[in-house]
Symmetry: C2
DNA sequence: TATCAAATTTAGATTAGCCTAAAAAATATT
DNA sequence: AATATTTTTTAGGCTAATCTAAATTTGATA
């Protein structure tokens, strides 16, 4: 059984190793967790003793298969709870993260599995991220960034990269959400900004915005 | 903001002061929490510094009004979650306590209030205990112990005193639950055991059982 | 009331998770 | 390649919540 804190570390390491390849650096985890690098080193040792990560001094860490499983169990709970908050408790997609960070630590297999059943076995959370099933398996459709969508090719928004409240609320105001059909009408060479059709409306978005929207072509 | 542990203490003190009158003794809390009396003394001092309890050396503690509020906020969450687990997640009333002990510490007013709305403002949890509303007010109907119900007077089971899994499952087997109509047919003077009609069936229960069942006459 | 037992508190230690400051290793730069 | 910079680790402390053992207070009993 893990403590609250070890669970946070495992999740952070899991997410970090998704975006980068190879081992995960001390500093990158320190930034995610909001702790000093020296504290992270301490925890790396502890996790290594528990065989949840492979750790070699000055070489960063990588999750063992047991570590991955533990991390996925937390990700599963996090995303199920986020789904519940949005679908039944009137939370908006920009409000769920902080609460789910707490709920993800609740220990009860029955609770998790019943919640999943109650939600009718959702495959994706409100941000479009895939939810591991009971066997911890998740399949994500192959998606691209909106920056990579060719001109005049129909696509659908299936997720976001940046989960910050600011970005999500910005998308709300632009009426872009999961499921919104998107068409790139024009790409400005000067600054890579895009004119797009999103649902029924035509609008302009910056490159920065486009790099944070996932599209299924 | 309280730590997990201070919340547990406040809740324990609250429950202890419900059953007994006057101040709450160090040892009684030690037993509930599962800690040594010396640890409890430490915590009493801490809670006293935070003005959540009134504490005088060797004299036990009592909750301040702020302490009562904090305790009731936890009780509210605990009972709402228990209700949710039973009504939507297929938990039996003997399985909810341990999970609710974790869920009661989740901090989010919005979550609590939306959960309450989702459950349609329940007034009592699965064990018949009253749920404090948003203003922390709860009204419990005036109930008596089954031992006090006069012969041949109709009553309804509205709660249980002992919340242990063992007792609750015993009641399940006897088909006694919240809402079951109860009639005392005979009281045995020798050992105070009762012959009762519970729902459609007639059965015998011991005095010990009867003192753990609440009845609304 | 004097004594004894039980309850409570104090003193001092332990553990997990964090910190700062200094040392060591890895990496980048000239 | 030598030096400078950045990253990481080590060493030593701190705090919250716990513990054990010893001391103190309360209150029950002879």
């Amino acid at each position: 059984m893990q403590t609250l804190s070890t669970e946070d570390y495992l999740k952070a390491i899991y997410h970090a190793s998704q975006s980068a390849s190879g081992t995960v650096a001390t500093t990158s985890i320190a930034n995610k967790i909001g702790a000093k690098p020296s504290s992270v080193t301490d925890m790396f040792k502890k996790l290594s003793d528990q065989k949840l990560v492979k750790y070699e001094k000055y070489q960063g860490v990588s999750l063992t298969s047991e570590g991955v499983k533990t991390a996925l169990r937390i990700v599963r709970k996090h995303r199920l709870w986020e789904s519940f908050l949005v679908s039944h408790l009137n939370f908006n997609w920009d409000e769920v993260h902080q609460v789910a960070e707490q709920l993800e630590h609740i220990q009860s297999e029955k609770l998790t599995n019943e919640l999943e059943r109650f939600l009718d076995y959702p495959t994706h959370d409100p941000h479009g991220d895939p939810i591991p099933n009971r066997a911890l398996f998740m399949k994500s459709y192959n998606k691209i960034l909106l920056t990579e969508l060719p001109l005049n090719k129909e696509g659908v928004c299936v997720g976001v990269k940046d989960n910050s409240s600011d970005f999500l609320r910005y998308l709300d105001r632009r009426q872009i959400g999961i499921g919104t059909p998107i068409l790139v009408l024009h790409r400005e060479d000067f600054d890579q900004s895009l004119h797009i059709q999103a649902g029924n409306s035509t609008l302009m978005i910056t490159q920065k915005t486009a790099e944070n929207i996932y599209i299924k072509p």
